[in-house]
Amino acid sequence: MLLKLQKTYKQHLVYSKLKYLFYIFIFLSIGCSSDNNSSSDDEGYTPIPNPELTFEIPSNFPETTYDLSQNPPTERGFELGKKLFYDGQLASDGVVSCGFCHIQSFAFTHHTHITSHGVDGKIGERNAQPLHNLAFMQDFTWDGATTFLDSQPIIPLTAEKEMNETISNVLSKLENDPNYPEMFANAFGSEGVTAERMFKALSQFMVLMVSANSKFDKWQRGESVTFTDDEEAGRILFDTNCASCHAGSLQTDQSYRNNGLPADPEFMDNGREKVTGLPEDSFKFKVPSLRNIEITFPYMHDGRLATLEDVLDFYSDGVEDSETLDPILRQTDGSLGIPLTSDEKNQLIAFLKTLTDNDFLLDNRFAEF
């Protein structure tokens, strides 16, 4: 009996200790957590739901080069990026937005002129490149001047002949805009219009521009499409004559090469040499992806060729020799370029048209209006 009583008393003691510890625990929890609460209260902003958007790698594509974990696209980040992309405020004249030179129906490239236009009617030196599958690219622009998608917009934003602005000035315009501060907060969960957020939002919009639904893609994935005789003949010609550079699903090996295009004395654009300073990179430009090539005319870095026929005529008869000419364009008999008959050219063009992805060109998510 005594033993039992003692045991009960001990139990009571243990319980009371536990009770104290329990209160202490509660106190601790409140004490420490209140710090966190107060800091978010100070910002005076309550985040609103902002679901992440799914990014699916098409089954015929390689891995992404863009680190999506560092900047996962969200509904409101994408929305902000899209608004920024189509906003002329980002340029010094209030007109020339990113979308001014990157028009969706032409796979986000620029038409009606050879090289692209900027503010005050200034004319650039290069042809705006199409935008698609940017999450899979190693570096950007014709000469690879930037290695990261997030920093690419610095170039057009600040180039005198493009948008002619300063990043600081763009940020101050956005801060004073009636809509942007709230959109930035909704996209990133707290208040603040910053350079980082602006570039990340633009990237969120751009990485989702995946073009992977052309007839060629469906053929690659073994979906139920059949090439016509001309398309199939063109595909075989393409594999032997073009695919060493315009390689794989991305339609580019992402290398820099001199394809023998005679240097335009007006620009004397030495291409990749601008970035590396290496004479061996002179007149080399990035091998462009041929996706949507049917509608991304004009062609070449300076847009000097108007049609696909012109391009193939150039490769068969127009390649000019120079020190940095790509060796792949030197034939064993000493001739330059890629020998092609006119029938072969027609077949190649039939194949190239299978690279057009109408689902992408008409995708309403990217549409300005």
Partner: protein
Amino acid sequence: MRIYILILASIIILTGCSGDSSPNTPEVGNLTLDFNNLIGDNNLTLNSRVYTNNSDETYEVSELKYIISNIVLTSATGASHTIPVEDSYFVINQDGATTATLSDIPVGNYTGIRFGVGVDPTKYPIESGTLNFIPTAEEAGMLWTWSAGYKFIKFEGIYTTTTDEDEPNTFLYHVGSHGATLDNYKEVELSISKEITSTATASQTINFDVAKIFDSINTLSLEEKSDIQVDPENAPKIAENVQTAFSIQ
């Protein structure tokens, strides 16, 4: 018994919350790095003083700027404190700010400092915070807009050579990384002896010997080349020289 429990509880509370570095538990301090641009023993004077390099060329400096980044402090115990990326990028400008103020450093004795000259291509702009340095760099003219890259060092002025003393020419060194092909980012490691306290902002002077831009591991002659920008041969030489130019008084 209850007393013991309360004491124990107090200890738990105090130690438990102190890890949050909340404002009522002062355990961090500030450090100002003061970059002192020198030629010989004297402060660099822009635009008026004439200096001579080892190639017997006389020069005046009109502009000297460089980017300091990725600052890490090490303590005697071997522990290190890394300044968060978003607070770790500075433009040092002889004609403007020559200091970098670091805050929220755990108090204690520090024996070493490590920092980058330029922008580490593995961090930029992947790591959060680095893109926010762009406006600062842009305002200081430290961006190559055509390449979306940084100028790590910007050094400009006029010079004359022994053969033509009457005709001053301009010189211009802009050094940065060349796309992904050439990385000119350098790290500098120096010994210091600095106590960080929570009561006062500590200050550490770091000397930068401007003459070493021309003459250190490599010798650069202005007559040979006075405009060095995207230059895969000479830009790395300047970056190597600059890496040796920092010291503690």
